[in-house]
């Protein structure tokens, strides 16, 4: 039973998280329902869309730009799926406070539940679209390595990273609405800065260094290693994933806690 928990100042984020687990469940169900309610093919889109996207890009980059990466379709679709997870989840959670204004004006809920549950909804759609990756693996007859069992690790890292970014963005957007317009450009720029359709090996050392500063590169890279190469990369890659994720999550929680105080006066 929820005992007017907002009074208990010392209550941790984790404590809230457990009390309000049913709420996260309901919010995620709602997001998915609203997303697919009006579309004829429903969940099928989550698989079809990345496949179509990959076909288009594979054609553009192999025929026009003569890319010579091995199993390029698989390489592409992994990069695309994971990058879409990042851009989609952060964009939705960015608007989560504003779009749930009706809720938080009427009842108390810990506000960080909103950006987090947006990322969870997006994770669910991403898991659906993993079917597209499997389809591409089957069609291209890609060998299956045991390391595929470890893909939860880059995915979990990315989940935490997205939650952190989502919390910061959602908090700032309440105060500055034009962030919404700006962010579309940012995600596009980040997409080019992430090796999705090109390989990092083709870059000059300086550019490679820059790319390695981008956490998303590490999540995608580890995911590709585990599925396509079947080797376990050195500890640096694992460390880069978990460290960037944890740090972003902690910064996100701290920034959000500061920003949330006056939400009600601005929505």
């Amino acid at each position: 039973m929820a005992k007017s928990s907002f009074r208990i100042e010392g209550k941790t984020a984790l404590g809230h998280f457990l009390t309000y687990r049913p709420l996260i469940h309901e919010l995620v169900t709602r997001d998915l329902k609203v997303k697919y309610r009006r579309s004829f093919l429903g969940y099928v889109w989550s698989v079809l869309n990345p496949l179509l996207m990959m076909c288009l890009q594979a054609w553009v980059f192999t025929v026009i730009f003569k890319s010579n990466i091995e199993n390029y379709p698989l390489y592409l679709i992994i990069g695309n799926t994971l990058y879409t997870f990042f851009s989609e989840s952060t964009t939705i959670s960015m608007n989560s406070i504003i779009s749930n204004a009706g809720l938080i004006k009427k009842v108390y809920i810990p506000k960080f539940i909103l950006p987090i549950s947006s990322v969870v909804s997006s994770l669910v759609t991403t898991l659906f679209s993993f079917a597209a990756i499997v389809i591409v693996m089957i069609i291209t007859r890609a060998p299956v390595h045991w390391t595929i069992l470890l893909v939860w690790f880059p995915l979990l890292s990315m989940f935490l990273f997205n939650c952190g970014v989502g919390m910061i963005l959602s908090g700032l957007t309440v105060y500055f609405r034009d962030m919404q317009h700006l962010y579309g450009v940012v995600t596009l720029a980040l997409m080019y800065a992430t090796p999705i359709f090109y390989s990092i090996d083709a870059m000059t050392p300086e550019v490679q260094f820059m790319i390695r500063l981008n956490p998303i590169y590490h999540y995608i890279n580890l995911f590709r290693c585990l599925i396509m190469i079947g080797g376990v990369p050195g500890p640096n890659t694992w460390f880069a994933c978990i460290a960037s994720a944890t740090v972003t999550m902690i910064i996100g929680l701290m920034v959000f806690r500061k920003l949330q105080k006056n939400f009600l006066l601005h929505i």
Binding site: A2, S4, L103, V107
Partner: protein, 251 residues
Amino acid sequence: MDTTENTAIIADHISMKFNLAQERTEALKEYVIKKIKRQLHYTEFYALRDVSFSLKKGGSLGIIGRNGSGKSTLLKCIAGVMFPTKGTVTVTGSIAPLIELGAGFDPELTAKENVYLNGAVLGHDRAFMNERFDEIIDFAELWEFVDVPVKNYSSGMYARLGFAIATEIKADVLICDEILSVGDMAFQQKCRKRMEELLSGGTTLLYVGQDPQTVEEMCAEALWLDHGRVREYGDSYKVCGAYMDYLDEIS
């Protein structure tokens, strides 16, 4: 102030200040420019000034006052939706708030889906809500519309659903804001009966209404807010009487 174990709500000298910005700066560029030029002017506005009261477990308090006197703002502070600028609020037990009619529904979702969402907002899982689902819809008399998105509801239907959920989950404190003003006569009677039942069952009631007559009948104590200040507070018969005299005087 009474701080024994038997109090459900203590509001201790709470004030709520709003900054009414002359122009809202929602654009980043504007904000930066104005901050630099020190042009961010606000008019300070107190919606609540130094409001104190305490309410026993199982007690009932009616809040009256003219439009804009701060009634809903006071309820929001108590429900934890807003933080008061000054002062503290202490609530013991779970709260079911119905502030400004709504219960925080999602307009795109159906009544059924909103029952679960609203339940979760108040900290209850699906199993808990399933047990109470039939009673909720029975009480709200909405079986016909159970699969209709609530955006297509009339305001009375909306209020019924909110009231039915908030009273069916049996929270320790029930907060009702203007709930009787949109329901039809039959439903108003039903709501009053339900509130009386809850009160005799030990629920604490915080009730806002425009009609001093109803407040007097429903609540043991009343608090009259005037421009955010407590004008009178005490026995509801006395406070509502004074408020009615005041209304007669100004009209």
